[in-house]
């Protein structure tokens, strides 16, 4: 699956003036991928439904990574899940953003000494906004999304450009933790 005319954007190009029109449309209609990894996913349904309505900000849930803008990493990530998250992140179409929920993505949380859970999400995929808490309150989640929209307005949400520029560093970290990023499924091979 190749992308059409895949040239890398540099940080300077993304700073251009006409990019601001695109930013207006992108920040007012964010589509999130409902990939809820850990126990932090319990805070998403109140944000999506009538209690703290997310749709008035323009956000909506979408089913597949190719259609989504934002990947929500909610909670802890074991090595198995990390491989699938990287696989999913590389399928999304650009520009794309990552929001890390909960303390487990920041520094390991309550599972900092576990043999199966990674400690810091920043080493493997670039993260734009962290929402701290265990779990964060639903208002904090909405605050995090509004912060992401503000970052898009100021042109500082450049995680995907950093991924292109520092691809070797990210790849080395991924291989050290996960091996190859290819999903081997015992039942289909």
């Amino acid at each position: 699956m190749k992308s059409t005319k895949f040239t890398n954007y540099t940080a300077k190009e993304a700073d251009a003036k006409w990019w601001e029109i695109g930013n207006y449309f992108r920040r007012n209609s964010i589509w999130m991928l409902m990939y809820c990894t850990g126990c932090g996913a319990i805070e998403l349904p109140p944000a999506m439904t009538s209690a703290y309505d997310m749709e008035r900000l323009g956000m909506g849930p979408m089913a597949t990574p190719r259609q989504a803008d934002v990947l929500l990493v909610t909670g802890y990530l074991s090595v198995k899940t990390l491989r699938r998250i990287i696989y999913t992140y590389e399928q999304m179409s650009e520009p794309k953003y990552v929001v890390g929920f909960g303390s487990c993505t920041i520094n390991g949380g309550v599972y900092f000494d576990s043999y199966a859970v990674i400690n810091r999400l920043d080493y493997y995929i670039p993260v734009d906004v962290y929402v701290a808490g265990c779990m964060p309150n639903t208002e904090s989640i909405l605050n995090g999304f509004v912060d992401l929209m503000g970052m898009m307005k100021n042109k500082t949400a450049n995680g995907w450009i950093k991924y292109h520029e520092n691809y070797e560093w990210y790849k080395a970290n991924q291989i050290q933790a996960v091996g190859e990023v290819h999903v081997h499924d015992e039942f289909h091979e």
Partner: protein, 299 residues
């Protein structure tokens, strides 16, 4: 030449109208669910956001199918009469032109969804075509009844024959009106007939591998096809429109009513959809045809 420009103008007007009405209906759905919805121009923002993303392609069939579907739908929308006197191509508003050209849109989408190589897309396309098979039969029976009663198959003539003191076909042929409305909901892909999209079940069906610009074109095609279908229903059953104001009022009312019904229903499975359409709507359509043509009981 002027006709083509007028046609493109009508298609553009239909796109703007439907996108605004769809955004307004998201607010209506939100209010039904006791929350605020988005702003009324939210769908515009969605579509333009999709056009600014970079997309991934899977080969030329994938791209070409989308362009064919979009072109077919724009071509169909150019023939829609806005009022009974405002047409792009006078004399070319036959009912069967729309039935024929809508198939081009579906075919294009099916082609590009199969070209993406994802098995979920094939499942979604199969479900979409099965749903089409289900709702077309009662709808065609009622439409053919109307054509037989009026003796002509031109939309504007059918609309003109319904003028008078509430002489609409939705009231003159009551069973036919109900069947037409249920088939309209099947055509629009609203719940309970939403099996071909099914967001959480088959990961949005045919749209599973689209991202960025192709999804934007697909949404534009969807909006235009909704415009075509609602206008078709309006001309067949509700007497068309004499002026633009009546057109807008009737359009908004039909779509909002369909949306309100769909927001309180769940989603049926595909075999339930086919069984449903082949039971009561088919019986009502055939009864209506028999009453209207052979017995002549028209209100």
């Amino acid at each position: 030449m002027l006709n083509i420009l007028a046609g493109i103008g009508i298609a553009f007007f239909g796109f703007v109208l439907q996108t605004s009405v769809a955004g307004f209906n998201r607010k209506v759905t939100g209010r039904i669910q006791k929350r605020y919805g988005p702003v009324w121009y939210q769908e515009f923002r969605d579509i333009f956001k999709l056009f600014t993303k970079r997309s991934v392609t899977h080969g030329w069939i994938f791209d070409f199918g989308i362009i064919m579907a979009l072109g077919g739908t724009i071509g169909t929308a150019m023939f829609i009469p806005l009022t009974t006197h405002t047409l792009a191509f006078a004399g070319y508003d036959n009912f069967f032109i729309y039935v024929y050209l809508i198939a081009v849109g579906m075919l294009g989408m099916a082609m590009s969804a199969s070209g993406s190589g994802n098995p979920l897309a094939s499942i979604g396309v199969m479900r979409a075509l099965t749903t089409m098979l289900a709702y077309e039969v009662p709808f065609m029976i009622v439409a053919l009844t109307i054509i037989n009663l009026t003796g002509t198959s031109s939309l504007t003539e059918i609309a003109l024959m319904q003028q008078g003191q509430f002489n609409w076909f939705a009231i003159a042929l009551p069973l036919g009106g109900i069947v037409g409305f249920i088939s309209l909901m099947g055509m629009l892909g609203k719940k309970p007939f939403e099996t071909y999209v099914a967001p959480a079940e088959i990961a949005s069906g045919p749209m599973v591998e689209y991202g960025g610009k192709q999804l934007g074109m697909l949404l534009v095609m969807h909006e235009l096809s909704v415009f075509i279908e609602v206008s078709l229903f309006m001309y067949l059953f509700l007497g068309g429109a004499e002026s633009i104001i009546m057109f807008l009022i009737k359009y908004v009312l039909i779509y909002t009513f369909a949306n309100m019904i769909s927001s309180v229903n769940g989603r049926m499975k595909i075999d339930q959809v086919v069984l449903f359409f082949y039971k009561w709507p088919l019986i009502m359509a055939v009864t209506q045809a028999v009453i209207a043509i052979y017995l002549g009981w028209v209100i």
